[in-house]
């Protein structure tokens, strides 16, 4: 957390503000208006917007380009970058390019496996892993050189993010992995969507005990559910997702036309509970193709600082 990035997200977190971030999935096409429209829905609502990088291994507008559209709308993007599609040469090149375009936050990810996407016949790269990407950006920023040790003119002063999934196995390695990401250079963490609060509480408790939450800013992830069908789909089909039956039953227990309302209600209850926990520094709202609801959630949750 000693980074010297000019990122506004970093500034807010350093000032001890409880931040809120949103998410924008770029379109399967090249229309910038779609990105601009999503940005407008989030403007003045969130402190920064994650821009996903070909999420679920489906070809979309690049996260760099979409991040620039977001930037031009007066919002701060968190550019996601996966190691699935690019080797270390391309990754470093794109980091330099992103910085030159004014992108100040980056989230380092492995990436969904290409077999989940629309082009499963593709070759993957995985030259380096997400841990290596974190370290690479830290070295570029703090030591001013690329992976070969070559000195960079105008090194990228990125605020470095990483993901954590407390719901994946093996559970007892999850805190070790968080510690490794911090040691590699992560300044902030965004977690997988939280529905299983018991498990999340155990993870954050262990992280607190290890002193990790003092070394990194943790933004807890939430995704409002639109319907019982969506909840079931996410539970069964989306890798790394843990949705307890109690949540699914609750979604299924209300009339269809009330399901979205119930999903928002669950989301607000989750946020309220998360705010009570020690070691949480913000909320990351991933409203998938439901960006118009983020404003309502932020307002109702009292997240505006």
């Amino acid at each position: 957390m000693n980074s010297s990035s000019p990122s506004n997200l970093q500034q807010l977190l350093s000032d001890g503000k409880f931040v809120v971030t949103g998410e924008c999935g770029p379109p399967r096409g090249s229309d910038p208006e779609i990105v601009r429209h999503k940005a407008q829905l989030l403007k003045g609502v969130v402190d920064a917007v994650n821009v996903t990088d070909n999420q679920t291994a489906i070809v979309r507008m690049s996260s760099i380009a979409a991040s620039v559209h977001i930037l031009n709308q007066g919002l701060e993007p968190v550019m996601q970058m996966v190691v699935r599609d690019r080797n270390r040469i391309a990754l470093q090149s794109d980091i330099l390019g992103a910085w030159s375009l004014g992108i100040k936050n980056i989230l380092c990810l492995s990436g969904d496996h290409q077999t989940f996407g629309s082009q499963p016949e593709a070759m993957n790269v995985f030259d380096i892993d997400s841990m290596h990407l974190i370290r690479t950006i830290k070295i570029m920023r703090d030591e001013g050189c690329d992976m070969s040790g070559f000195e960079l003119k105008n090194p990228p002063r990125m605020f470095i993010g990483a993901a954590a999934n407390p719901f994946a196995d093996p559970f007892d390695y999850r805190v070790i992995r968080l510690a490794k990401k911090i040691e590699a250079g992560a300044d902030f963490i965004q977690t997988q969507c939280i529905y299983n609060m018991d498990r999340f509480k155990e993870w954050i408790k262990q992280s607190n005990e290890e002193g990790l939450t003092e070394k990194v800013h943790i933004l807890a992830g939430v995704t409002p559910l639109k319907s019982a069908g969506m909840a079931r789909y996410m539970k069964n089909k989306v890798a790394g997702m843990d949705i307890p039956d109690s949540v699914i039953d609750r979604m299924a227990g209300v009339p269809k036309e009330k399901a979205a309302e119930e999903g928002i209600k669950i989301c607000l209850e989750t946020i309220a509970e998360l705010r009570q926990l020690e070691g949480i520094h913000g909320i990351h709202i991933m409203a998938i193709e439901w960006e118009e609801k983020v404003s309502e959630i932020v307002k109702a949750a009292g997240l505006k600082h």
Binding site: F126, S130, A168, P170, K180, G240
Partner: protein, 222 residues
């Protein structure tokens, strides 16, 4: 061993169409062990092809031969006469065997009869699993004898991704998560510290990224 699987019969028939005299050349080591290209498979394939051509009223002469290893000169030489007597060779060896034949018999067409799958083991009767990518720089000592480069779908070196669930990989529910196996085993061995600290990026030069590989053993050069 090198694990392979016989190509679909339709593909084989199509590839041998231009020829009237074919040698089916088996290999008696790896691909024999995985039931893809030993003498038994040569015999079965030869019968199937003869029947198929007969049914279609097409002429074909098929010779059968299996050598110990198609990747070694002394065994390849045993096949020289048969190769010379035929229009083409349908090799049931791995890709290395097919190319070894092609290198040594400049005028004989060589066709692959199997798809070379991976370097692996027979985990259970009838179940073959990939264990090694031949990366050229073995790091199994760190990972408790379980290779994350081969057995993790994302080649992760620093721990499991967010898709590890109940010991299984997100990519295929019947595939073990390599990282779960690594962690379990290192715990048993009391070596979990091996993976507590940062493991740097891999140097891929000794792997296929460095171009075609070769190994020179000065002590064996005559």
């Amino acid at each position: 061993m090198i694990v392979g699987e016989q190509k679909p019969i339709a593909e084989i028939i199509k590839s041998i169409q231009p020829y009237r005299k074919i040698l089916i050349l088996g290999c008696g080591t790896c691909v024999k062990t995985c039931f893809a290209g030993g003498e038994d498979e040569v015999a079965v394939l030869a019968s199937a092809l003869r029947l198929s051509f007969k049914k279609d009223h097409q002429e074909i002469e098929i010779d059968e031969l299996t050598v110990e290893r198609q990747c070694e000169n002394e065994f390849i030489q045993e096949a020289a006469e048969s190769i010379g007597n035929n229009d083409a060779v349908l090799s049931l060896a791995c890709g290395a065997g097919v190319q070894a034949i092609a290198k040594r018999f400049a005028t004989s067409p060589v066709l692959p009869g199997i798809n070379t799958s991976f370097i692996g083991i027979q985990e259970n009767p009838g179940l073959f699993t990939e264990e090694c990518s031949g990366c050229g720089n073995c790091e199994l000592a760190t990972f408790g004898g379980i290779c994350p480069i081969t057995r993790c779908s994302k080649k992760l070196l620093n721990g499991p991704c967010g898709g590890s669930r109940n010991g299984k990989c997100e990519v295929a529910p019947d595939t073990d998560c390599a990282w779960q196996l690594i962690i379990d085993r290192l715990k048993i061995l009391g070596q979990l510290d091996n993976i507590r600290s940062y493991i740097p990026p891999k140097d891929w030069r000794p792997s296929t990224s460095g171009g075609p590989r070769k190994l020179v053993r000065e002590d064996h050069i005559i």
